[in-house]
């Protein structure tokens, strides 16, 4: 069954609001106490009851909400994305280790002393140096990069759930994290890397043998795996979710712009009048959506269904957009510059 159209609901709600101030209107003192949570239950209920049918008081409450200082930034270790990042990174690490390590594992083990006796002149130094050397070379990357990646994720997620980067970045971060973790892990025994297959198979019984040819260098395998993961991530269409999650848009490469009014269950294609596919967008309300793309492409819809191209001063690739309404938007170009409009794109500064 169809839902009641939002526009009609909005009109019905507005029609029930008394346009002129009435005797019970909220004064500044009560408004401030409301905002600070200092009203008693009875007074609060009375104020809510009045405001539910008074245009001026609703506008006052809305204005008050808009003047509120921004919430304090959440510490990066409290970011919700990190709750997912840790298990994701662990899972990716496990996959990479599972792929790389088992093939290098010896078919059967030998006593340590025997292995030491048969090993090359560096057997003693190898166990000492390999893991630690890898670990020693890893810290600058292993320590710094995951945190930077997490910060990027958090920042992107906090700015706009609709930006295309977070999903790719999340996968990217997981793959990178896995790669880094694998790089920091102890490498296979020295013989696995140095001895050719023939030499291994020719080895005397009781020595280290391998069931399969030595694997490709881990770095290349990990890079290939990372590329596969990224390729899948890139195929995911970018979604732009409005404040009302049932209304959203998605940007499908080669197809264009599609809109859903049922939370993404069904999608309707929309004509934008341009051939290029936008790459990012922002929807500050269920009816207003900004899209940006290559060559200075800026599109704006103010009623959610039709699109108009907004003139942009430079034919530069645009990578992201933030918008608060149909007039105010900040666009970021590929070279990092930002362009701001406060008149719906008529002028940029």
């Amino acid at each position: 069954m169809n839902d009641v159209p939002t526009r009609v609901l909005r009109e019905t709600l507005a029609a029930r609001i008394a346009p002129a101030p009435t005797s019970g209107c909220i004064d500044a003192d009560t408004l401030a106490a409301w905002s600070d949570g200092a009203l008693g239950a009875r007074e609060r209920a009375a104020a809510e009851s009045h405001a539910s049918s008074c245009a001026r008081c609703q506008a006052l409450l809305a204005a008050m909400a808009r003047t509120a200082p921004p919430a304090p930034a959440r510490r990066w270790w409290h970011a919700p994305t990190l709750k997912w990042l840790a298990p994701l990174a662990a899972a990716a690490t496990a996959v990479v280790v599972w792929i790389t390590v088992p093939r290098a594992r010896p078919e059967r083990t030998v006593p340590a002393a025997q292995a030491a006796a048969q090993a090359s002149p560096q057997p003693r130094s190898a166990p000492e140096t390999s893991p630690r050397a890898a670990a020693a070379s890893a810290p600058p990357i292993a320590d710094a990069r995951p945190r930077a990646g997490a910060d990027e994720q958090r920042a992107a997620g906090a700015k706009d759930v609709a930006q295309p980067r977070p999903r790719a970045a999340q996968t990217n971060a997981a793959a990178s994290s896995a790669a880094r973790d694998a790089a920091a892990a102890p490498p296979p025994p020295a013989r696995a890397e140095s001895a050719p297959p023939a030499a291994a198979s020719d080895a005397a019984p009781g020595t280290l043998t391998f069931a399969a040819p030595p694997p490709a260098p881990p770095a290349r395998r990990i890079e290939a795996l990372r590329a596969q993961v990224l390729a899948k991530a890139v195929d995911v269409p970018t979604q732009i979710v409005s404040p009302n999650p049932t209304v959203r848009w998605r940007l499908v490469t080669g197809v264009g712009v599609e809109r859903s009014i049922d939370g993404g269950m069904t999608w309707q294609p929309q004509s934008t009048g341009v051939t290029a596919t936008p790459t990012a967008g922002a929807a500050p309300s269920p009816t207003i959506c900004w899209l940006v793309g290559p060559g200075g492409l800026v599109l704006l819809s103010i009623e959610g269904r039709t699109w108009q191209r907004v003139p942009f001063p430079e034919a530069i690739d645009l990578t992201s957009v933030r918008a608060s309404d149909g007039a105010n938007a900040t666009v970021t170009a590929a070279d990092g510059r930002t362009f701001i409009t406060s008149d719906g794109g008529k002028t940029w500064r």
Partner: protein, 223 residues
């Protein structure tokens, strides 16, 4: 009251014309007021209201020698910062409403209809609008206020939650619940009162979705 005693003292000193207190007030609260003004109007159009607020806060001395300052109205029920935001919001809203009152109404063009009018369409639209009006009226005042904040005032979920003193997630859930309740009530009224079938009810809702209606009733209402 005790929680804001320092604010009350600062307000009292400023109202009495204490220059050092006034300097401290300006130094500490000017950035806050400007941030709040920019939150209301990103083009900095509300900053002049913030500036004019200073004059009223500073006060004037009348012929009897009494100093009249806006600070006298601060009761300490909230923090001074919140109270200042409330006064600013009040002045801004009243100014916007005053300006809208004198602006001419836009000329509305009749919507172009390429198709032949459906004889049932007008009746369906009227039925849904009546049912919707009754369904909204039947909601609790708190639910109506939440819907008004979100759909009429176009606040974000986070801002709506701030007004309703609840989390963003709770606002989202409550909005969805209210919408579902409205839809159920509209369908019930159409089925039981207007004796419509499921197909007719679907046609009703489709009609009202296509109906341009009084497109910006909100603007008219606010006149």
């Amino acid at each position: 009251m005790g929680a804001h005693s320092a604010d009350l003292e600062l307000a009292r000193l400023c109202a009495d014309g204490d220059e050092r207190a006034w300097e401290r007030f300006v130094r500490e609260y000017r950035p806050l007021l400007y941030r709040a003004a920019d939150g209301l109007d990103r083009t900095q159009g509300a900053r002049e209201i913030a500036d004019s607020l200073y004059a009223d806060l500073y006060g004037i001395t009348n012929s009897a020698g009494d100093r009249q300052s806006l600070f006298r109205y601060y009761q300490g029920r909230s923090s001074l910062a919140t109270w200042l935001r409330a006064v600013l919001a009040q002045r801004y809203v009243d100014r916007v409403r005053g300006q809208r009152r004198v602006e001419p109404l836009p000329v509305e063009e009749a919507p172009a209809r390429s198709e032949e009018p459906d004889p049932d369409r007008a009746r369906y639209v009227a039925l849904v609008r009546e049912a919707l009006g009754r369904a909204v009226a039947a909601l609790a005042a708190r639910d109506r206020l939440r819907l008004g904040c979100y759909y009429v005032q176009e606040l974000t979920l986070a801002e709506t939650g701030r007004v309703m003193n609840e989390s963003e997630a709770t606002s989202s859930r409550q909005l969805a619940r209210a919408r579902a309740a409205i839809r159920r009530d509209v369908e019930r009224q159409l089925r039981e009162d207007a004796r419509l079938s499921d197909d007719q009810i679907a046609a009703c809702l489709a009609s009202v979705a296509d109906d341009p209606g009084p497109l910006d009733l909100k603007q008219v209402i606010y006149e």
